[in-house]
């Protein structure tokens, strides 16, 4: 069981981590507040969202579903960062 959860954790981290980076960059650039508030809104909201998505991926009914959920989070956020996260 523990080894099964190890593989599932790897899928979840592989999807959630790049998505978290993308979300943080997008929020740090575009959250409607001054510089420091934008920065820490990005940090705090990204942490909360990442934990939520991590749980969503980890309780998926099977590895394929877990990979799909991790990928969905990525598919939404990476384009956001690419389109709006730049300078």
């Amino acid at each position: 069981m523990a080894s099964g959860w190890g593989a599932r954790a790897a899928i979840a981290i592989g999807g959630v981590l790049p998505g978290a980076v993308a979300l943080a960059i997008t929020l740090a650039r575009h959250y409607p507040a001054d510089g420091l508030n934008r920065l820490y809104a990005a940090v705090l909201l990204t942490l909360a969202a990442s934990v939520a998505v991590l749980l969503w991926v980890l309780v998926a009914p099977g590895r394929r579903q877990a990979a799909w959920r991790a990928g969905a989070w990525l598919a939404v956020l990476v384009p956001c960062a690419m389109l709006w996260g730049g300078r």
Binding site: M1, A2, G6, I25, R29, R38, L39, Y40
Partner: protein, 503 residues
């Protein structure tokens, strides 16, 4: 929630707990230790220091530090507080190099013994990368808490009782659920603020350039409220009166509690003094709350505070006092909250230990080899750490001061912990080995408390910091009680079929 979904949450709770429980115990135990260590600075000092005496003026102590070779040009002076009556002189990087008795100006031995476990919690001895790694365990703890609450949420009406007489396994299961459910607010606090302690710093460094394109250093300057660099103006004619400055600041801001005084370009006519501390009702730290004065004439220049700043920034600033239980801003209830914080930290360790025990016993009944591996790791790492901490406290308090002794203590900690891990991997009866470790740890903690009490009676003529001694003896007694061999009827009851078990 359907049965399938519930079983997935349960599997997540069990699987993640088994995978990460041992390291999580290390992070939580070292965190509780760090909290206690911060309140035990005075416990390590000579007992006479804790007896109330008139103190020398701050200017006299500063002059004394200068005569002992402390470079005051950009120094930070940590003022005496109830937990540590010594006055400390630190450099600009906040490394403290000298502590003085505020009543006599006599130098004091270093009170930084037993810092090994503090460093373990902060960085795993691996600097900034280690800090980030430790903070990731906050996320692991959050996942376990949410999964645990989802699995056990229907137990709320029964969460106030721990069934006795139904065997060890049932009692430990109830204890696990009891701590998990009643301690949820603190566990979430530990996890979220712990994760942000490292990831927040990483996020600040990584995102400063995104939030401030082309000028990332602005983020740090605005965050810390730093003043412009002081320009050289030549040597001053006479030293400023720091005590008068502190009195003037107290009159100007009566709700402010000074904790440290930073000297900027001390000795120059343009020198400045920064008084750092906490403000009543404001969850912040001395890093973000400070008042700046011109040293020459005591002219107020600026205040830096988190009050009035944006929501997200204030939330981030509140992370440190909440994680480290720095409740000075709460007022009289701060001490009680700190004790509660510490007790919940120990309870979180018990949560990990009981969870690991339940998983191991369940898998052992199914003849799973992973149970033996996890048992070896849990007994050696967790039991060994508790023992090594107790030995460090007892030896550190009983042995004389000296640099060589400090090095020997650090080595002793590693040898005891490493030895416990190695033996746990070799012995066949790990339950018996765990009982040995707990008995030895119980004796060590109790002896540490008794030794300090004896030293205080000899040195000061009366017990000082006796609540810490009492807590150590009580913790030792608790470990000795927990190390007793379970009754035979409890052992038999623990072997109920897996299907009949509630976990």
């Amino acid at each position: 929630m359907d049965a399938s979904s519930r079983s997935r949450w349960r599997a997540l709770h069990r699987g993640a707990g088994a995978l990460f429980g041992v390291v999580l115990f290390v992070v939580l135990f070292s965190g509780a230790w760090s909290l206690a260590f911060d309140s035990m600075q005075g416990w390590w000092r000579p007992p006479a220091l804790a007896v109330a005496r008139p103190t020398l003026p701050l200017d006299a102590l500063v002059a004394r530090a200068a005569s002992l070779g402390v470079a005051l040009r950009d120094a930070r002076i940590v003022l005496p507080r109830p937990d540590d009556p010594a006055i400390r002189f630190c450099d600009a990087r906040q490394t403290c190099t000298l502590a003085l008795d505020p009543a006599t100006g006599a130098p004091l031995p270093d009170a930084a013994r037993a810092t090994s476990i503090v460093t373990l919690h902060k960085t795993l001895f691996a600097g900034f990368p280690g800090r980030i790694f430790v903070s990731l365990w906050g996320i692991v703890l959050l996942v376990l808490i949410v999964a645990g609450v989802v699995v056990h949420r229907k137990r709320w009406p029964d969460a106030a009782r721990i069934r006795r007489g139904h065997g060890l396994r049932i009692a430990l299961f109830d204890l696990h659920a009891w701590i998990g459910l009643w301690g949820t607010p603190w566990l979430v606090l530990f996890a979220f603020t712990g994760a942000l302690s490292g990831l927040g710093a990483l996020g600040t460094v990584a995102l400063a350039g995104v939030a401030y394109p082309g000028q990332p250093q602005r983020a740090f300057a605005e965050l810390l409220g730093g003043s412009l660099p002081v320009e050289a103006g030549g040597p001053w004619r006479h030293a400023p009166d720091l005590d008068a400055l502190l009195r003037r600041d107290a009159a100007r801001r009566p709700d402010f509690r000074p904790e440290a005084v930073a000297l900027q370009r001390w000795g120059d006519v343009n020198a400045r003094v920064e008084i750092a501390g906490t403000t009543a009702g404001l969850p912040s730290t001395a890093v973000f709350e400070h008042h700046l004065y011109r040293a020459a004439d005591g002219q107020w220049l600026a205040d830096a505070t988190s009050r009035g700043r944006g929501f997200w920034l204030r939330a981030f600033i509140a992370v440190q006092p909440l994680h480290f239980a720095q409740y000075g801003w709460v007022g009289a209830a701060g001490g009680v909250l700190r004790v509660l914080h510490f007790l919940m930290g120990l309870a979180a360790c018990a949560l990990c230990a009981t969870g690991l025990h339940l998983w191991i016993e369940r898998r052992r009944a199914q003849r799973d080899r992973a149970a033996d591996l996890l048992a070896a790791a849990a007994v050696g790492v967790c039991g060994g750490l508790v023992l090594a901490g107790g030995v460090l406290l007892f030896a550190g308090r009983a042995l004389p001061d000296g640099v060589h002794v400090d090095h020997a203590l650090a080595l002793l900690f590693r040898v005891v912990w490493g030895g416990a891990i190695a033996l746990a991997a070799c012995v066949a009866d790990r339950a018996a080995w765990l009982r040995v470790l707990m008995r030895a740890a119980g004796v060590a903690y109790a002896l540490a408390g008794a030794t300090h009490c004896a030293i205080a009676l000899l040195g000061a003529g009366r017990p000082v910091y006796w609540p810490i001694d009492a807590a150590l003896v009580a913790f030792g007694a608790l470990l000795l009680r927990a190390a007793r061999r379970p009754r035979r009827d409890a052992m038999l009851a623990a072997r109920v079929p897996a299907g009949a078990e509630p976990f």
